[in-house]
Structure formats: C-alpha cells, structure tokens
C-alpha cells in the first residue's frame, strides 16, 4: 500500500513516548548461573528510579546490562531487549550491529567505589570522555568541565586545584568527581551502582541532594542497599529478589502499601 499524506507510514517506534528506558524479558547470566530473570519494566523520562533488594538479588547485574557493561565480564551473557530512544536499530541496544561503545555514550555510569583515573588531574578526569572522543578545543573543554563540576556540586571545592590529581581528593569528593566525569559526555541516562555505600553520612547526604537536582537533566537509575535512601530520593522503586522483579511502582506506595508480602517483609526488615 502506498503511504498517503494523511497517514504517513513512519517506522514503528518500539519505545513509547515519554519513556527513557524499557526492558523486555531481560535475562543475564554468569556462565550457567542465571542472575537476572525475565525482567520487564519501564522507566519514564526524568525519573529517579531506585532498585532495592538483598545482596546478590541481581540488581547490580541488571543495571550493568543497561549500558552493555555486563558482557565485558568473562563468561557473561544476556538475552532479551533493552529499548532506549535514539539508540538506533529501532532502539534496541542489543539489536545486532549496535555498537556497545555508542550505547555507553548515552548511558553513563557511577560505580560503587569512587574510581577516578589514577595519574590524571581533576580536570583531565572530567575531560577524559570528551577528549578521547575527539573534542580538542580548549574553550569547549573548559566550559564542559566547569559545567559538569557545577552540576556535580564539586566546582567550588576544586576550582583552584584543577591540575591536582583526582586521587588526591577525599572519598566523597572523588565520587562527585566520578559523577562529573559521567555527566560531561551528556548522557540521557545515568546509572548509579550503590554510589554512596563507600561514603560517610555527610558525603552521602551531598550525593543524595545532587541526585535530586540531576533529575531535571537526566534520568537516574540508582541501586541502593539503603531503603531510607530509596525513599528519600526516588519517585519510582523496583524490588528485586533472587533475580526476579517482585514489585515495581511509585516509591511511596512501595513503602507504604506494598502489594506483595515479600516486599513488605523486606522493607519492614524481616529479611535481607
């Protein structure tokens, strides 16, 4: 049939409007060990989406599938779909021919332990992503580094010592440096894998504050062991147990009236 002007046939977009990310029957393995089982969920744009659950429930592996970092581990494998608008190949990041490198530009990540590049200055740490992608203009780099450090609430503390090594900062500052580094390449989505578990309470509070501000610019998925943290900063929460998604919904209702008894048991501290 010829497409008419009234109803132009556009390529069917698999991702629905307003969603930042969608997984369809996503599974992940380490060798024979099935650690993420058939997860389907949707994350809306500008959500702060928290993933909670006991250790070893697969939540970290799950988010490592969302920037195709899981597959970098020996013996790791993935099945299912992850849809991210604009990722190409009708937007499934696991479609054949999609380059994981291009996905990781769209989906940034902050890790459990602060991991600045050793031997690189504060400036060079933040500039690394852009510079190695070919951005060489000094004024652009200056601007992006400053913007990213301001976004990461670190600028005032480091603006006079940008040439000092990134590793010379305190743990909490290093973690904010890593956030600035991830933001510098302007990702659509920011994955955070227990970003405060290695930090003291004051540094933790600063990062939580920061995450709540970031939601204006980027969609955040955050794995946390700390249920108060999930309750404080996220608007959507998913509860994982033994690789399965038990329950997902607005954070408020997950914490006040969970539908599943296992969720209730976990958030009331009866296991995990």
């Amino acid at each position: 049939m010829e497409p008419t002007l009234e109803s132009p046939v556009s390529p069917k977009l698999s991702v629905s409007d307003g969603s930042a990310l969608e997984t369809k029957r996503l599974s992940a393995w380490f060798g024979d060990h099935h650690v993420v089982k058939d997860i389907s969920l949707v994350v809306q744009k500008n959500d702060v989406f928290s993933l909670i659950g006991p250790s070893g429930c697969g939540k970290s592996t799950f988010i490592r599938c969302l920037n195709r970092l899981h597959e970098e581990t020996d013996g790791a494998s993935v099945s299912g779909e992850v849809l991210i608008p604009g990722a190409g190949r009708r937007d499934n990041i696991y479609a054949s021919g999609v380059d994981p490198v291009s996905i990781r530009r769209r989906v940034g990540m902050v890790f459990q332990k602060p991991n600045p590049f050793p031997g690189l200055s504060i400036f060079d740490n933040v500039a690394a992503g852009l510079r190695l992608a070919g951005v060489m203009r000094r004024n652009i780099l200056d601007e992006v580094v400053e913007m990213s450090l301001i976004q990461a609430a670190l600028w005032t503390e480091v603006k006079d010592k940008l040439k000092k090594p990134g590793t010379s900062l305190s743990g909490g500052q290093q973690q904010r440096l890593c956030i600035a580094r991830a933001l510098a390449v302007k990702p659509q989505i920011l994955l955070m894998d227990e970003p405060t578990s290695a930090l003291d309470p004051i540094s933790t509070a600063r990062i939580e504050e920061l995450v709540m501000k970031l939601r204006n610019d980027v969609t955040v998925l955050i794995v946390t062991h700390n249920m108060q943290q999930a309750a404080r900063i996220s608007n959507q929460t998913a509860f994982f147990l033994m690789g399965e998604l038990v329950e997902v919904g607005p954070t408020k209702s997950i914490f006040t009236k969970p539908k599943d008894t296992r969720t209730e048991q976990y958030i009331t501290g009866r296991f995990g």
Partner: protein, 281 residues
Amino acid sequence: MIELSIRDGRRKMVNYFSLAVLCALAFAAIAPLFFIFAYLLLRGWGGLSWSFFTEIPRPVGESGGGMANAITGSLVLMGLSSALGVPLGLACGMALSELKKTRTAKALRIAIDLLTSVPSIVIGLFAYALVVVPLKGYSAWAGGFALAIVMVPIVARSTEEILKLVPSAVHEAGLALGLPRWKVLMRLILPGVRTGITTGILLALARVSGETAPLLFTAFSNSFGFRGLSSPIASMPVQIYTYATSHDETWRQLAWTGALVLVFVVFLLNLVTRILTRRKI
C-alpha cells in the same frame, strides 16, 4: 612451674641458635656481591682516569688508551635494543593483561617465560642466522636485535604485572564513558602506571647492559670507535671479555676498570628503579 621455665629457656636457646644460623647463611649468600665489588674497586680504581672515558684503546704494547669505543658502543646498542624491544615488550604485556585468561594469553605467557629462560648464547645464534648472515657481516643492527630479544620478555612480564594492579573498576569507568577498549588502555590506564612501566624498562636495560654472549657473533667488536650501524661495534662486556683474556698488562687493567664501571652502571640503574618503585605507582 620450674619444669616449664626450664623448657622456656631451652625454647629461647633454640630460637637464638636458628636465628644465628639463618643470619650466617644469608650473609654467605650475599657475601660474593661484596667481594666482587671490593675486588673490582681494588683492581679497577687505579685505572680510572679521564682518558678511560675519552680515548680509544691503543695497540698492544703501548700504554694508555681507554674504552671510549666500548662505552659509546654499549650506549648505541642499548638505544637500538630499546627502540625495538621496548615497544614489542609493551605490546606483549598489554596483550597479556587484556586477554587475561584466554587460551591465547596462556600460550603467549608460556612462550614469554620460555624466552626468558633461553640461554643468551642461543639468542646470539638466532640473531646471527637472522641478521648477520643476510647482511653479510657483523653489525650494530645485529647486536641490537639480539639484545632486544633479551629485553622483550622482561618488559612484557613487568608491564603485565603492573597493569594487573590497576583495579578493573578503573577499566570499567573508561568503558562506561563510551570509549573503545584500546583508548581506555592507551590513554587512561597507561598514564597512571608510567612509573611502574619505566621501572620494568630500566630493569631490562640493566640486564642487557651486561649481556656478553648475544653480542659475540652479532655486534662483534671494533677498536676504532663508532663506524655506523652497519659495521661491527664494540661494547663494554665484550671488550672486557677480550681484554681480560689478553696478555697485555695495559689491556688487562682496562678490563678491570671497565668491569668496575659496568657494575657501577648496573648498580645505578637498579637503584633508580628502587627509588621509582618506592614512590607509589
């Protein structure tokens, strides 16, 4: 109580005795080093003079002369071998750390370990067949090539060990920025470990600066100073070997002084690596 304290005394005695034995054995093990150094100082010090470093050797029977030809020769050979051996060794080391536990990596690791234990005279033969024969003559090229083969496994293994110390989280941080693996390694990991890698290179240099066997029928020797890379070239170890086995008293003195200088250079290289490694990687 009494019985216990007697046993206690005995235990302490045994302890002191074993400690004394261990110390004596440890001293016996390192004693040769001191003897070598002391003896070299004794025999070689007298020959140290400005002309030792600036003059080429004189014909048999004439007194005076120096080892300038061997010193520049050794420097040229070390430069040549580094130019070839360092990039190759670095590449091997990076490949090993990237390939981790794959079959290729295991095979490569075994090959490199075997290369470490190949007698250096055999490496000399290999360079003879591969470079000297086709070029129809001894040359600096051939000597540099042979020494490079000695360097490769040392640089490769030390590079691998240093890269292993970098947490995988740093690697992942680079990947998560949307950078290809090779860029992460070359531009983000390597700058952070340059001190460690330099250490490995210096150790390899210290090792080849004293190698004699691979040079005997590759670089050969020459008593006139530098004549180009395609000509035979002198080197400290080979010169020492030749002069030490000669009957000329002046030459034998040169050999002693040369040995002293060579040992001092190797000692210095090792000291520098020590200082570099003490600073954090």
